[in-house]
Chain length 381, copies 2
């Protein structure tokens, strides 16, 4: 059985979460829009899930707009807001997820100026550059709370303060942060925030955009008028129920999980450093579960393949763009040299990991590295 060490890519559904979902995949199958008992039961389930999520992230239930996932929520903010604003400037960090970066690039083709906020060599936002990016006539900004690759946590609260003082609508993609660090929508001070279920031991196919209701957002998917008219389509009831349950567990179990996982990462990074790994973003605040590293001269995708054969599931670059062979855009934005960037590999720990997983992983890594280094030497000889 391969040891899963890729929890930033996706997580298994928690058993207690699946147990809550199952009734809605069986007898509780109604359409929440229906005016009969099947509809009412489905609607009540959605209402309950909405309020559990609101509770978990510090907002009102009416601020939770369910979507099909994080990518849709990010697109909804960018395109939905742009649809009601006069084109001006949009600022995003240079290390956003493609589901923020790509729609921003699309806006740049239709009258918007796109400004990328620089990050330093450790992957943290350059605050001076942020100030300059947010100068008029900027009307939208999106900065992720935690990076999916490096785990670097940005000072979103400070950017939000800047944004508000300039009357700029501010969004944060909190998909990777949720469940790993404390998350409070109202404390962050942003106008919109993206979260997703399948990163917090909930099901795939559901996420949410948390919104300040004064935001002049237009829907991306129109139709029956569900989700206060901001997202039409029959609600994915079972998944929404699972999201609600997962959000509650994510918050209640977070400190215990993260202190345990944080300790495992300490051991992991100790071992990796001893083997000569270069660790990215170590100089600042990171998610407690994420380690992003590179062995100079060793190709990342090759290392992932070899470790997969050895029984360990890890990632090279962001999961969503795997299959692509270009080096990570995040590392390039950090100014990491191309050789080190090509070697980048991510371990992201989670619920089911144990101390022996880490020990076994380090042992297997040692063997794999020796073999790959030997091959490299023979190839160069």
């Amino acid at each position: 059985m391969t040891v899963y060490l890729d929890y930033n890519a996706t997580t298994p559904v928690r058993e207690a979460v699946l147990d809550e979902m199952l009734p809605y995949l069986k007898s509780g199958f109604g359409n929440p829009s229906s005016a009969h008992v099947y509809g009412r039961l489905a609607k009540e389930a959605v209402v309950k899930a909405r309020s559990r999520i609101a509770q978990a992230v510090g907002c009102q239930p009416s601020q939770v707009i369910f979507t099909s996932g994080g990518s849709e929520a990010n697109n909804l903010f960018l395109k939905g807001l742009a649809a009601s604003l006069k084109p001006s400037k949009i600022a995003i960090s240079a290390i956003e997820h493609p589901s923020v970066a790509k729609p921003a690039e699309t806006l740049a083709c239709s009258g918007w100026a796109l400004r990328r906020i620089a990050v330093d060599q450790h992957g943290f936002l350059d605050m001076n550059d942020a100030k300059s990016a947010l100068s008029p006539p900027c009307s939208m900004v999106s900065v992720m709370l935690a990076n999916n690759e490096t785990g670097a946590i940005q000072d979103v609260e400070r950017i939000a303060e800047l944004a508000r003082s300039e009357k700029i609508c501010m969004h944060t993609d909190a998909v990777q942060a949720f469940g790993k660090i404390p998350l409070d929508f109202s404390k962050l001070g942003v106008h919109a925030m993206t979260i997703s279920a399948h990163k917090i031991y909930g099901p795939k196919g559901v996420g949410a955009l948390i919104v300040d209701k004064r935001l002049p957002l237009m829907p991306l998917i129109e139709g029956g008028g569900q989700e206060s008219g901001l997202r039409s389509g029959t609600e994915n009831v079972a998944a929404i129920v699972g999201f609600g349950a997962a959000a509650e567990h994510a918050v209640s179990g977070m400190s215990d999980l993260m202190s345990r996982i944080g300790w495992l990462r300490e051991k992991l990074e100790c071992g990796l450093s001893e083997m000569g790994a270069f660790l990215f973003s170590k100089a600042g605040l990171r998610l407690p579960n994420t380690t992003y590293f590179s062995f100079p001269g060793i190709d990342g995708p090759t290392l992932v393949t070899e470790m997969d054969r050895a029984g360990f599931a890890i990632a090279s670059g962001s999961a969503c763009s795997s299959g692509a062979t270009e080096p990570s855009a995040t590392l390039l934005a950090m100014g990491v040299d191309a050789d080190l960037a090509r070697g980048a590999v991510r371990v992201s720990l989670g619920l089911e990991n144990t101390e022996s997983h880490v020990g076994d992983f380090l042992a297997a890594m040692h063997v794999t590295l020796s073999r790959l280094s030997g091959m490299m030497r023979r190839l160069q000889a």
Copy 2:
């Protein structure tokens, strides 16, 4: 236990479908974009589901673009195509689902001329008006295959022929038709077709747009580039697997199911007519499971509520716009007078219905009608 007679609103997940989904909600939880064994297994599952769906609807697997459901697929066609065309005229039938009508209205606010194709009193497309609507400079047309309320089946093949001769991109919303009548994408001759899982005993939260790959479609949701770049976001693997299974069952079991259900509807409509019901769209080809009727002078939503109390789940108007109190837009387009339209109630039969359900329903309807008529008489006296 309330008898479910609202299968056009949504369907329960078939047990065999859920059985196929469960492994992907448990150990098979990988992200299809991941380069390790968890990712590969998830990817294989998506590939298999894609090919089962292609087989079921008569297209190539590469033509299946998974979405979060029918509403998203409809929006993807309309907005995704409009994004790459010069604004001209878009034609839709006057009885489209809101997830076609609303995005079309939005296009009408940004340079497109919106032309609604009239239907006759029975809810069937006026072919002369269709010809006139498809005159230059029309570049997009969307006509549903079967109406969700009346069940009326349109001659989409003929419209598609017209559209192709005028070089117009033609879409059909086949959400209600799939699983109820034979469906063949290539035979229909359209450029795009929407289908959804939760209307064919599959899970909510997944649908597809079947596309002619020459269509210059732009994505609505951008990001990691999944679904050939036309729909980003981590694939909803378990739901996609369920969709594949449901599609296969829908096709293999269709004739048996529909001949049985068709017979139940005969009995139902016989009974309803005897009680004085007016049946909509009886004059043409309808889905075999759908009955849409009205008792003159009896309010539809009230009848739905009373029948719910009596243990029968039926619908008034389209499920997606329930909660709204305006009479059905479909019936208004058919020129049905407002009083009869306000009385409209839909019974849509499905997999689990039996002859005794129909008998019991008719008996309960008789009692309810007598009571409501008595109340009306007393109110008028």
